[in-house]
Symmetry: D2
């Protein structure tokens, strides 16, 4: 795909996102999109493309800072619940309540008991959101070990990306297998009827972004897009069901 083709297709799909948000405002729909994935898997980038032409007043992107000492002792979901969407709003989480099953598990930032509790409860939490007519879309952005290495290396040498470099990067590759194990358990245990995981292969950024947006558009389901919205490429975007069924595999 050339850059021009990508830009043209992106603009086409962003037009459909605009349609979807106008429609969701009119209908009072609530949309909640969760982006999870390893460091450098492309969360920031795809969120930027999704929100580029959306209403700044109806769209919120949440990348919560680390909890305060008092928040650490509260109900785990409390801090996130405060940011759930009201009628007509889209709330996008750049990392989310799933921190507990990912980085916290691998790095030991919480206890195994707390992590277990999270995995036991998360489907209940999300089912309630669904019951509250929140359209919940959960993405796992899946990157390969080599591609991650390249992106992390790039960051270190790019002065524009210095804020993306964190002490945790150092261990992303080193603890690759621990992260894989955490991911597998997390996806397996939190993939449920009202909270499906959608996996996205993100080694090819542009394809990943376009197909992720296609999935969002289908999930929201505005009846009249001004452009046609193709089904996402099933090699790039697929339900975690496909992994369970052995039709797709996540990077090891």
């Amino acid at each position: 795909m050339t850059d021009d083709d990508y830009e043209a297709e992106l603009a086409r799909l962003q037009t459909a996102l605009v349609d979807a948000q106008i429609w969701s405002q009119a209908e009072g729909k609530k949309v909640c999109i969760v982006f999870e994935g390893r460091d450098s898997a492309g969360k920031d980038g795809v969120i930027k493309r999704i929100t580029e032409h959306l209403s700044v007043r109806q769209t919120r992107v949440m990348a919560l800072p680390k909890p305060s000492d008092r928040e650490k002792t509260q109900w785990w979901f409390q801090r996130y619940a405060a940011h759930l969407p009201a009628a007509g709003e889209w709330a996008i989480f750049n990392r989310s309540w799933y921190n507990r099953a990912g980085v916290e598990k691998v790095m030991g930032f919480s206890t195994p008991h707390e992590q277990e509790i999270f995995l036991r409860d998360v489907a209940s939490f999300e089912s309630m959101l669904a019951d509250s007519d929140i359209v919940l879309i959960k993405f796992w952005l899946d990157i390969s070990k080599d591609e991650q290495k390249e992106r992390l290396d790039d960051r270190r040498s790019d002065p524009l990306k210095r804020l993306k470099v964190s002490p945790l990067d150092a261990v992303a590759q080193e603890k690759w297998d621990a992260y894989s194990a955490a991911r597998d358990e997390m996806l397996r245990r939190s993939h449920h009827a009202t909270g499906h995981w959608t996996c996205v292969k993100t080694d090819k950024k542009k394809k990943a972004r376009l197909n992720t947006i296609r999935h969002v558009l289908h999930a929201i389901g505005c009846p009249d897009y001004t452009v046609s919205v193709e089904t996402p490429d099933p090699e790039v975007v697929f339900s975690y069901d496909a992994v369970i069924e052995g039709k797709q595999a996540l990077f090891k």
Copy 2:
């Protein structure tokens, strides 16, 4: 029971509440007490006695005003979740998320679908609180129709109680049966392993208050009360289990 006996026993039990809070602060325990019941069943009164000697900084009593227009469109539990206790705190709800199954149902302030969703979800919500090590104590204060009539009549003629008089009082007696039906369904469907309902007969205020505090003390379970805490009188305070088993009955 004479007034003096009541005051002496109340002070004794309040001493134990003080012990319990000192202990729960030291241990970082979280306590959440929910008071539900018809108008005039005694919620304000018992809360006043419970909190009388507690720490004003570690104890919060929530009697949330009606939701704003924006809050009305959010996840039902969101507004309440913001007030859940952090380590060492006691949060007391004077009416709570159960509004949806009580007054809202009887008065038609929400849709039957919303009420159904609430009853379907509330056990999940509360189980998560339990999983988060919140000690959740739920009281249904049960008053008889005659006693309610008397109390509501008293309010109308007592200038000190004018703020307790509301347009809803008028229908409390009129819609007595509808409220009973709502209560029965609510208790039946939201009495669960980690969120037991404790019923309290409140026609006799003093007995009700003392026994309610006794139940709180047993539920919190501080190991060393400076006074002995008797088991609550089973004719006054009983688990909803006893109603299910036909050993106790709520007022019709």
Copy 3:
């Protein structure tokens, strides 16, 4: 004054508070009452009497716990501003933003620079509240050294008051003069046109409470109290103006 006289007069004044709140709800008035004073000066007690018959849904008492690590770095007034009253609400602060000029100064919990900034800014902050049609009433409850000693001693021996005992009590007497100096500077610099300080002599609890309530009632100014509200006794409740003019003196 006998106990019976006190109770009768208290009830009479509480009736007027009920009138005032009904009126302020109807008019959408906002009321904010600040209680400051040394340990054991009677803040909890008078707040309890004021709120006893008020609407639990329209009245909020704030006794904020210590700030979280993140809150500590924010704008000093931010944490308090979140609790200011909306239309029809009464917000009562049991200690308030003035902590910075009192306990924090004496105990060194913040820097002299931060304390200076507070004293410089507080009149501006409160003037804005006044401009926003918030009725702001600020009380300094003034207790003598001997009476404080007695009350703190009582607390230590009363198991019901164990939660009121704090490590800071020990220094309340010891640093009496430092607290006096902090008080004098605080009152002098934060007594301004739209944020008058009202001083209350509280060694005699009952007189203090009754007269404090009288002052609240006059300050709110409901046009039709069902009872007559006398002017507070000028020996018990007086503007800080009287101190400036040398007509009254605070305890040394």
Copy 4:
């Protein structure tokens, strides 16, 4: 300036923004940037360029939705105060508390009394933020009537910009003079020692963006930028002082 030159210079300045944020994190600095200006003056665009490479966790962009019914009755600044930065954070307001003096005045969304109160109080509010060590940077993005017309026309015909089209656009040109008058009064009365207004001529978008970022960088004042940060072009970015002194003029 060619597109390539623009992109290169933008990247250079964004590198300096990254430096500035790394430094402000390390130092615990708080930064608050306010963007005001007529519809289509370029607020969204410049914010996008500023935040592009900043930390998503330390940077918050606030474009608050309209207040809820309850919020409408609160202290005007309360809703905004909740989002002020903590240590190390940058808070960027896409429209701000100045709504009261702009759109609300022109459209009659609040009373002249409320608008007057705002103009009287805003300098006090901002001085307190300065006292709290918040670096406050206020931009007025100034666009010409013709350029606005063109941009608003473009929006209407561009499906990607449909969410930017609002019923208020229709009156932006029609009430141009009323908006000019509101702007003039607002700037004149809220330009003060600790809350300078910086005006930006935005008809030429690229020049405006680059120079706005240059101003931000100088205002934050990180000691060691990896690139040299030129003084903004005084024909594009200038203090409101220059308008007062007649050296610059805003669009009529």
